[in-house]
């Protein structure tokens, strides 16, 4: 039966070539869009790893002021911590959660090099963001011994850098003068929001004399409003004349980051949805015409004793064979992506989307062929043969 169908289609490959190209093109479009969606959904399913609801980000820019920047920052931190509306506060490098900034770097341990995001924070960072520790503890002021800079890494970084070893209290040399010492490990930290993948991350304690990392994250008490914000900005502006002060809520920045991911996905979804509707309608029309042109053939088969079901299956089988032809050609292109690791994505993403697109194509094709073949199978043999 199957061989027979293949033969039937092969003999008419000329007339079917356009159909094959059409299905092939839809497959490629679907594959592209689904890869994008699978990538984002996979990221979305991993927890973000921290709390951001009540957290504000105060971005301080020293501008032309270069005198004793660090001392001024320390005073401001003391002032901020003293407000009754503030639960905790921490200094941080410019790559605050959900910001567009990124600081990438790499570390080497035992000849294994791992790249990741570097965050420069102080001893209160994990309290502000409720970042739970898997093992060890967060760094404290006392951890800074002459040669060691205390760091905390995330699980991903630990897996990459230390392979099967435990990471706690290991020392990583940076240069001849200083080295890192791992004091704790946290789980996920997806600083750019739910749609970011869980990258390796490293938190380094801000140096005592540091004047560069001048962002402040503030965890406010519930019910704190813009009135406190205005007061805060006014107070800081008095203490730091000439500095730039910008307050943003992590909750809002997160939405901005989301839109940056979601808007292109939605545009692609709309366009490909429209393309597929177009293809489905076209397929339906073409199959309808093709089948109605083969009335006498159907009549003959029915007269010879074929059941309705058998006739339906024959037409469905034909379109499945055509779809299979196109999918085989399409697969030749699509498998290159996981094989060659295009865009450095996990090959799992590509494989999932290949299977998903194959499934969607078969579903569309079946739906489009179902109605016409059902109609065809109901043709009365006497009528069909009479027309001939």
């Amino acid at each position: 039966m199957l061989r027979h169908l293949f033969k039937l289609i092969w003999n008419k490959k000329g007339t079917h070539s356009l159909l094959i190209i059409e299905i092939l093109a839809s497959f490629l479009v679907l594959f592209g869009v689904l890869s994008l969606i699978v990538f984002n959904v996979r990221n979305f399913l991993q927890p973000i790893g921290f709390e951001y609801e009540q957290v504000w980000n105060v971005d301080l820019a020293s501008n032309q002021d270069t005198v004793e920047v660090n001392r001024k920052l320390t005073t401001v931190m003391q002032r901020i911590r003293s407000y009754k509306e503030v639960e905790t506060a921490t200094r941080m490098s410019s790559n605050t959660p959900f910001s567009a900034n990124q600081i990438g770097n790499s570390v080497t341990y035992n000849k294994v090099t791992a790249g990741g995001d570097f965050y420069y924070t102080d001893q209160d960072f994990n309290k502000v963001l409720d970042l739970p520790l898997l093992k060890g503890r967060w760094y404290r002021d006392g951890d800074r011994v002459a040669k060691f800079i205390p760091i905390v890494i995330n699980k991903k970084m630990e897996d990459k850098l230390f392979l099967d070893e435990t990471s706690l209290n290991k020392v990583i040399k940076i240069d001849d003068k200083s080295s890192y010492k791992v004091v704790g490990v946290v789980d996920n930290f997806k600083a750019k929001g739910e749609f970011m993948s869980d990258n390796p991350a490293l938190f380094e304690m801000i140096a005592k004399d540091d004047g560069w990392n001048s962002n402040v994250l503030i965890k406010t008490k519930r019910g704190t409003d813009a009135n406190f914000e205005a007061k805060l900005v006014k107070d800081i502006a008095m203490m730091l004349p000439g500095w730039g002060i910008e307050v943003s809520y992590l909750k809002e920045s997160r939405l901005n980051r989301h839109n940056l991911t979601l808007v292109p996905v939605i545009i692609f979804l709309i366009i490909s949805g429209f393309l597929l509707t177009n293809v489905a309608l076209g397929l339906f029309g073409v199959l309808n015409l093709n089948i109605s042109r083969r009335k006498n053939e159907i009549g003959l088969r029915r007269a010879m004793g074929a059941t309705e079901g058998k006739v339906t299956i024959q037409f469905l089988g034909e379109i499945w064979v055509i779809a299979t032809f196109s999918l085989i050609i399409g697969l030749l292109f699509a498998v290159q992506f996981p094989l060659m690791n295009v865009f450095d994505l996990d090959s799992e993403i590509y494989i999932t989307s290949i299977f998903a697109s194959i499934a969607v194509i078969y579903i569309i094709v079946t739906l489009c062929a179902w109605l016409p073949s059902k109609q065809a199978s109901r043709i009365h043999p006497a009528l069909a043969l009479h027309e001939e």
């Binding site: 093109a25 490629l28 009135n227 730039g244 910008e246 177009n278």
Partner: protein, 414 residues
């Protein structure tokens, strides 16, 4: 003759409403998406308010420092000093404006928080941009010389901050980060998609916190150079390139290994492409991907139309047979089908035009992009119409050609 063909086409369309629907659906939706997209691209890259001189402007927006092997790189906007030295001095240019990239700030009024975008500019900024002043006037060289705390604000900020309900606010003060600025002008705002003109507040570059005194090459400023005439642009570019090439090595070689300096004065679109595709292979890749996407997007509905048309025309074999038997030449039949297809494509085009108007109207009025001014302008419409024709021919010629070569006997038998 033509009207006759069109009459036949009309009858054929009405005979099978379902197929007519499929064809029209394909044509009109493809064209709608295309028109909305073109109009959006035109909004992004075209010459529109307030960047009315964009077609004769060159943008100097990125300073790239690399090592000779191009493995490490550092890039970003320039300092005010760098641009003053190398761009302001251009002799072949008409006007040179320097402005900062927008930065953020907040202002508070009556316990309410207003998010602000701020921008520091020189006075030429107002000549290069075609802002419409609703009240007052821009700051001038005097304000700059005296380091006056003055500001030009947009109408949206005026309504939010002052709540005067349309009364003049020129001369009143706006407090931003504890500094009072005197409002000297109110302009109609620019959409946020035009990053070099978009802001809520504009300050003279001598206002506090502008960082215009910074030394070095990398800072937060960009320059827009206009030419008297679009044809002067290559001359300006080469003058700027030679300016850059004359910068002494010691000045470039400030960081450990970044020894190569790249600064270009580009037209807006090129400048945009250059921000993410720096060398020619990347640019080639970019254009390949874009053309592939367009090909897929246009190709799928086209193949679909051809498919439907082939099947439909086969249905009309007997009609063709009769016409051929009465002596109609193949060319006449071919023309009939082409005209029929162009006819239906134009109907689809008309639907698409109406639909695009609706969508663009919705985008403009939804506030999705503030001050959005998407339009179906003449070039966009002409392109769409051209695309209409290509579609009509693409989906008409192949099946028509096949049919017109059908033998009379075969045609009549069917």
């Amino acid at each position: 003759m033509l009207s006759n063909y069109i009459k036949i086409a009309w009858k054929v369309l009405l005979r099978h409403p379902f197929y007519t629907f499929i064809t029209l659906f394909g044509i009109s939706l493809t064209l709608t998406v295309l028109m909305v997209l073109t109009s959006f691209l035109d909004h992004l890259f075209g010459t529109h308010y307030p960047e009315v001189n964009r077609n004769r402007s060159l943008y100097i927006a990125t300073v790239i420092q690399t090592d000779s092997a191009r493995t490490s790189m550092s890039s970003g906007p320039a300092t005010f000093a760098f641009l003053t030295k190398h761009a302001k001095s251009l002799k072949s240019a008409d006007k040179v404006a320097i402005m900062s990239n927008f930065s953020f700030s907040n202002t508070y009024v009556n316990g309410k928080r207003i998010k602000l975008n701020t921008k520091y500019t020189d006075t030429e900024f107002w000549d290069v941009m075609g802002f419409q002043f609703l009240e007052g006037k821009p700051y001038n060289d005097n304000n700059i010389r005296n380091s006056d705390h003055v500001a030009v604000i947009t109408d949206a900020l005026r309504d939010q901050y002052f709540e005067t309900g349309g009364k003049s606010v020129v001369g009143r003060n706006i407090e931003i980060e504890n500094i009072n600025y005197r409002v000297i002008g109110v302009v109609k705002g620019s959409p946020p998609t035009r990053v070099y003109s978009y802001s809520d507040v504009y300050f003279p570059y001598t206002a506090p916190k502008s960082n215009y005194e910074n030394k070095g090459m990398r800072g937060r400023y960009i320059a827009i150079v206009t030419a008297k005439d679009a044809s002067d642009m290559p001359a300006i570019q080469s003058e700027f390139d030679s300016n850059i090439s004359r910068i002494p090595y010691a000045e470039i070689h400030t960081e450990q290994n970044l020894t190569v300096l790249e600064v270009k004065a580009d037209e807006y679109f090129n400048h945009f492409v250059n921000t993410f595709a720096r060398d020619s292979t990347q640019r080639f890749l970019f254009y390949t991907v874009v053309s592939f996407v367009i090909l897929m997007f246009m190709g799928l509905p086209a193949i679909n139309l051809v498919n439907v048309n082939v099947s439909r025309i086969l249905e009309r074999a007997s009609e063709i047979g009769v016409r051929k038997a009465f002596g109609a030449p193949s060319a006449a039949l071919l023309w009939q089908f082409i005209i029929e297809n162009i006819f239906i494509t134009f109907i689809g085009g008309a639907f698409a035009l109406a639909l695009s108007y609706l969508i663009i109207y919705l985008i403009n009025s939804s506030g999705w992009i503030a001050y959005a001014d998407l339009t179906i302008n003449v070039p966009v419409f002409a392109i769409s119409l051209g695309v209409c024709l290509v579609f009509g021919l693409l989906s008409g010629v192949l099946p028509a050609f096949r049919m017109s070569r059908l033998k009379i006997v075969d045609a009549l038998k069917a």
